[in-house]
């Protein structure tokens, strides 16, 4: 039984192949097209999934789409009817893609991939719920999905039991925590559907002094249900997000790339605080209703690692599973599993314990690429020697790119397409920012830590392999790993185990032997404005366009200084960076 899940035409297009109840391949289209948040039909991702599954399109039993397009169109038409004639420009801008693509999905699927079989459509939030619960380690769990908007739903809760999922309550558009967060993101001069995590990082620098203003905008009931005062927003009929009234209340909006002052930091902190307050109220209500200590979460808001890290302390939930690709990309995986487990009633047989579901390249393929392009490299026949050399390079404060095995699924690089650096060097955050990432200085870098040493450094010893939870770093340890300690003493950690990623585990272990610190700084292997690298070519291009000193690709060590003829300057790309993220919700 082969099921192909697809999510696309809004943002984060992706495909996922489920074969007899196991996920064989899952990847985002952006990794192939090199356009961040690419929303186009995921032809490349599907092609890869079929290749990985060693099947052809004729072998697919069902293609499943992650939402119901006509229900979504219904919401959009209703928005236009309610806000006529103010919504004309949005209508003009969005309608062609609806008429040409979104409402003609079956014919597009047939045209793009030659599929002539059965196509199913699963509700957006059901797909999210399935993406979290059906691959979780829990037999029974409470489920919460929170995002910008699906068809009509923006927030939903219910429970999963065995292979069944029931969603009991919802909140509908235009009331949306995701859109509230996106609106403030654009107000603070960043991009909606792309930069929300930056606001989360910025929040740690401020105080929630604007909380009372946000409380005026969001009416929250005891059960966590909420309603937005839509006088403060225009996203239901315009391409921009906050209204004039919002600007009157909070002061002038920050222009992109202008300096960030304390007011901006305090607004970000207030937004983060109100989001957390609402989430905890919803979760406490959910726990009361479902009476289960396990929680599964998905939807874009579930990627808020700061809030996630506080759930256990602020609610009665004991164990939490957040799908690694919690945003819309994960909908493809959820839709496929929903069909296999819930609709067809097959037994659950897949726990997502790693994210290495994307393309990989063999040693021969990489060697061939390096030789063909006359790239100077050194080959290590012995893996231990390669690991020893890499750990030494990191300790000597070299910025080292690590390209191994299969590409990660989801937004986080977790040790297969990562840039690694020495976390003990207090200047390393600035060095990586300046030489490679060209990003805002307030944003923290994440630590990868050996699970067995985690309790010595963090307040939690729980295995957290997907970098979705921010936790306090013990005070006495903060000065040992300064470049991965955020301003508020926290870190968005990745627990690394031997079972999950043996090579990466060995590398950190070797780094520990040399430095006495079981932690490395881990950031995604990409140039600002581009997706995580996929192929050896992407990786080499990224190294030569940035200040990465060494690239370890499979068993090959490539030094930047040995290949300077291919050097170029990626900082221009990052200056021009303007992702084509869709900011229309109407």
């Amino acid at each position: 039984m082969n099921i192909l899940g697809i999510s696309c035409l809004y943002h984060d297009a992706a495909a996922c192949l489920v074969k007899d109840g196991k996920v064989v391949a899952a990847t985002e289209e952006e990794r192939f097209t090199r356009k961040k948040h690419d929303n186009s039909f995921p032809t490349n991702a599907i092609k890869y999934c079929l290749e990985q599954g060693k099947i052809s399109i004729e072998d697919i039993n069902y293609v499943v789409f992650y939402e119901k397009p006509i229900m979504k169109f219904d919401r959009i038409l209703n928005s236009h009817l309610e806000t006529f004639p103010k919504s004309f420009w949005t209508f003009f801008k969005t309608m062609p893609s609806w008429l040409n693509e979104k409402l003609r999905l079956p014919s597009i699927i047939k045209k793009e991939i030659g599929y002539d079989g059965e196509i199913l459509f699963v509700d957006h939030h059901l797909a999210h719920a399935a993406s979290a619960f059906l691959v979780s380690p829990f037999k029974k769990a409470a489920i919460l999905t929170v995002d910008g908007v699906g068809e009509w739903t923006t927030t939903a809760w219910g429970y999963g039991d065995g292979n069944k999922i029931t969603l009991l309550k919802e909140i509908h558009f235009p009331n949306s925590l995701g859109l509230l967060y996106s609106a403030v993101t654009t107000y603070l001069g960043f991009k909606a559907n792309n930069d929300e995590y930056k606001i989360m990082g910025l929040a740690s620098y401020g105080k929630p002094t604007y909380l009372d203003k946000f409380e005026k905008i969001v009416d929250v009931k005891k059960d966590g249900s909420y309603q937005l005062d839509m006088d403060y927003f225009v996203y239901h009929y315009r391409l921009s997000m906050p209204s004039k009234k919002f600007i009157e209340e909070f002061g002038p909006a920050r222009k992109p790339k202008s300096p960030i002052d304390q007011r901006h930091k305090d607004i970000a902190a207030s937004l983060q605080t109100i989001l957390e307050e609402i989430l905890f109220k919803i979760l406490n209500h959910l726990h009361k209703k479902v009476k289960c200590n396990n929680l599964c979460m998905a939807g874009g808001v579930a990627l808020n690692s700061t809030a996630n890290g506080k759930i256990v302390k602020n609610t009665k939930f004991k164990k939490i599973f957040v799908q690694p690709a919690a945003s819309d990309a994960g909908g493809s995986l959820g839709a496929a599993f929903y069909v296999y487990n819930t609709i067809l009633g097959k037994k659950r047989d897949c726990i997502m314990d790693h994210v290495f579901l994307g393309p990989e390249f063999s040693t021969d393929e990489i060697r061939h690429y390096l030789k063909r392009n006359k790239i100077n490299f050194k080959e290590f026949k012995n893996e231990n020697r390669l690991i020893k050399k890499t750990a030494k390079l990191i300790l000597e404060n070299n910025i080292t790119a690590w390209f191994q095995g299969r590409l990660e699924w989801g937004p986080r690089a977790l040790g297969n397409r990562s840039i690694l650096a020495n976390p003990c060097n207090p200047d390393m955050k600035d060095i990586v920012n300046k030489k490679v990432k060209h990003r805002e200085e307030f944003r923290p870098f994440a630590p990868s830590i050996l699970l067995e040493d985690q309790k010595k450094y963090f307040e939690t010893g729980e295995c957290l392999p997907f970098m979705q939870f921010t936790h306090l770093i013990k005070e006495k340890m903060q000065n040992k790993i300064p470049s991965v300690t955020h301003v508020n003493g926290t870190g968005r950690l990745q627990s690394v185990t031997k079972d999950q990623n043996p090579k990466y585990y060995k590398l950190i272990k070797e780094f520990k032997r040399l430095s006495k610190v079981p932690v490395v700084l881990n950031t995604s292997f990409n140039i600002k404005g581009e997706p995580i690298v996929c192929t050896p070519e992407d990786a080499y291009r990224c190294m030569m366009g940035t200040g990465i000193d060494y690239l370890i690709m499979d068993r090959f060590l490539i030094a930047r200084k040995d290949n300077l003829r291919d050097a170029w300057d990626s900082s221009e790309i990052s200056k021009r960076f303007a992702p084509k993220a869709n900011v229309t919700f109407a």
Partner: protein
């Protein structure tokens, strides 16, 4: 030969750009008609009968904003629909 190729390449690009401009104008006119006649009239008619297409007004008196749905497994044929 190269010059001819270059000429036709430029001619094709120019014609494509012209075609895109025309289609944008036609789209604009058609969508304007649909918007002001289709959407506009329906909206005015709906509003005359106090029909609310989108809940934008605050409803503080409600005890809860949760909407009961009870979404669970349906028959396979329901998933074949795009709605």
């Amino acid at each position: 030969m190269e010059k001819v190729k270059l000429f036709f390449k430029g001619f094709y690009a120019g014609f494509k750009s012209f075609g895109l401009t025309i289609s944008t104008i036609v789209n604009f006119v058609l969508l304007m008609i649909v918007y002001f006649i289709g959407v506009g009239l329906t909206s005015l008619l709906g509003k005359t009968f106090k029909k609310r297409f989108l809940y934008l007004k605050k409803e503080d008196r409600k005890k809860s904003y949760w909407i009961k749905v009870n979404k669970k497994k349906q028959k396979l044929k329901n998933y074949r629909r795009m709605f």
